[in-house]
């Protein structure tokens, strides 16, 4: 999607009013371009500290995102990521903190006056309106004339490749089409922030890949802030420029997707990205893992580079080799362990080892057959130091 098509009337920070206006930019939404960025104009994009009470726990996260950036909120169900999005939208009140968007304080702005566009999990398209009227709804609410709003809606639908579905009722659209209509509807209000709540959750697996790449292209063309909520790490990796992992209402890790995937900071993130993760303390060439009850002596993990102080070590399950006896070779990390479970994992077999250290190993079915492993068997696990990622805690 081209920048023009979105016709954003949002002023680019630092440029004067009236610049970079798309077609039909008369549809404003109360954010007067003339105001421009406030004091310290560099702080464009999203700057939010969200504190709210949600049922059983407290939400307390701070989020920032630059214009054009896609921030993914990744986390397990019930972690508070959707609630964070609802707080950003103004649908749930804050008990503390602030929401600043392009240097303008929106903390107390009513939902209907926030410069946002939101796509809900099951899209929530209005059933009694055609696709076109759904998209035209926002501009109409912002005071555009009927013809103008419909022209704008038609243009957006056209760009979404949905021109021939303009008159279709939402219930007759496929999941992917409904998602595009929902996106068009959210973009039609020329938002400065796009909020996407699990945009893929309502789609079946067969259409997901296609829809995801389409969404990615669309988000690349959007120059406002995008905040995306998902529990699917792949979705976060593909769609987002930055990932914030939320657990129990707090941000436990934040970074670019590659960093999060390589250096997880919590057990949840490690499981999501499929790594073995341990906490420990560096003592030069190795990291001594934090002892757990009944583990016996301290477990040492040899690492690539010398390391001191509190550290995390991570290595992928496929880096673990299993041996029937103590191996004689260059492998520096060798632990005796018992098999705690065996399951299929793609074209590999995942072997859970009781430890210490408790870990998972991915081996080929042939290797499993050679080893003849069964639940409770003793086995030696080896990991090369060069495969172990070590980073400060």
């Amino acid at each position: 999607m081209s920048r023009d098509a979105r016709g954003s009337s949002r002023p680019d920070p630092g440029t004067g009013p009236g610049s970079d206006r798309g077609p039909g930019s008369g549809i404003g939404h109360g954010s007067d371009p003339g105001e421009g960025p406030g004091p310290g104009g560099a702080a464009s994009g999203l700057d939010a500290v969200l504190r709210a009470r949600l049922g059983g726990f407290a939400l307390d996260v701070s989020l920032t995102a630059a214009p054009g950036e896609v921030l993914a909120l990744l986390g397990p169900n019930g972690a508070g990521k959707s609630s964070a999005l609802r707080v950003l939208a103004g649908l749930v009140p804050l008990t503390g903190g602030h929401v600043r968007l392009d240097s303008r304080d929106e903390t107390t702005t009513a939902v209907e006056h926030r410069p946002i566009g939101m796509v809900f999990q099951d899209y929530l398209l209005f059933e009694h309106m055609s696709a076109l009227d759904n998209v035209a709804f926002g501009p109409r609410c912002q005071g555009a004339a009927k013809a103008e709003a419909r022209a704008r809606a038609a243009e957006l639908l056209d760009h979404m490749g949905l021109a021939e579905h303009a008159r279709t009722r939402p219930r007759h659209l496929s999941g992917g089409q409904a998602q595009r209509v929902a996106l068009a509807r959210a973009l039609a209000v020329r938002p400065r922030m796009l909020l996407l709540d699990e945009p893929m959750a309502a789609l079946d697996a067969s259409t997901r890949i296609d829809v995801r790449s389409r969404l990615r292209r669309l988000l690349e063309g959007f120059d406002g802030v995008t905040v995306l909520v998902t529990h699917d790490p792949l979705e976060a990796m593909v769609l987002a420029d930055r990932v914030a992992v939320i657990e129990s209402g707090r941000v436990v890790q934040e970074g670019v997707p590659a960093e999060v995937a390589r250096r997880p900071r919590t057990a949840y993130v490690a499981r999501l990205v499929g790594l073995n993760l341990f906490r420990g303390r560096g003592d030069g060439e190795a990291v001594v893992l934090d002892a757990r009850d009944g583990d016996g002596g301290p477990t040492r993990v040899a690492v690539r580079e010398p390391n001191e102080g509190p550290a995390l070590v991570a290595f992928p399950p496929r880096a673990v080799a299993l041996y029937p006896e103590h191996p004689h070779g260059s492998t520096r990390n060798v632990w005796r362990s018992t098999v705690d479970g065996i399951e299929r994992f793609g074209d590999q077999v995942r072997v859970h080892l009781a430890g210490p250290p408790a870990l998972v190993a991915d081996i080929t079915p042939a290797a499993l057959a050679d080893l003849g492993l069964a639940h409770g068997d003793t086995v030696w696990a080896g990991v090369k130091a060069s495969e172990v990622e070590c980073y400060p805690r």
Partner: protein
Amino acid sequence: MSAPADRRAGRRTRVRAGRTPWILVVPAVVGVLFLVLPFAGLLVRAPWSTMGARVSDPAVLSALWLSLSTASVATAVSLLFGVPLAWLLARTRFPGRRFVRALVTVPLVIPPVVGGVALLLVLGRNGLVGRYLDAWFGLTLPFTPAAVVIAQVFVAMPFLVISVEGALRGADRRYEEAAATLGASRATVFARVTLPMVLPGIAAGAALCWARALGEFGATITFAGNFPGTTQTMPLAVYIAMQRDPEAAIVLSLVLLLVSLAVLGTLRERWVHAR
């Protein structure tokens, strides 16, 4: 395989659901008979030979017209006030909301005659409010067609309010949130999103309200009186006819029955099956 054989095979393969318990069936059948028999009685005893002449009697037609028009106006008035009231009860929080809700349902449970007496005390010529209506505007409500409508609204509006409030509570509020994120004010959300969503509920409530208004007797006769041509609605006409000419009462009853069934049937066709 022949068709009967097929059917036999079908019988063999069907899962047996177990016997329907007689302890439920017998009372159910008795209930149905109890509800249907009176109508059968009406049909059996109807003076079919003189039916045409009786139905076209100007007195019958005027009562019928009065009933239909007042019930329709009462329904319109109930919609005008009842839908916003239902919205307020379902969508806002204000002190005393539960109390207001309880008050709204009072006309459902009190005898309509009592409602008529209460209306007379308030809106009668010497009533709390009626006194000023008379003194300032020269308005006298009791014993006019307007009084018939007021009595019907008083008795029937709670049905509409309860039904619409239920529909509003059942509607998915996230659609309203979606509309709000698109810049819709609460009034716009109500008009363009909520109202279309709860339309079937409103239609059902309106039908119920209309039927209740059409059958109104107690409050009407107390507050509006029983003047042929101005306040004598069909139920009143039936009652009066019963005293002197039972056959006329049967005819009037049949007409009332047919008209209400026809109207409700049409509404149902239009609103329930269109969706």
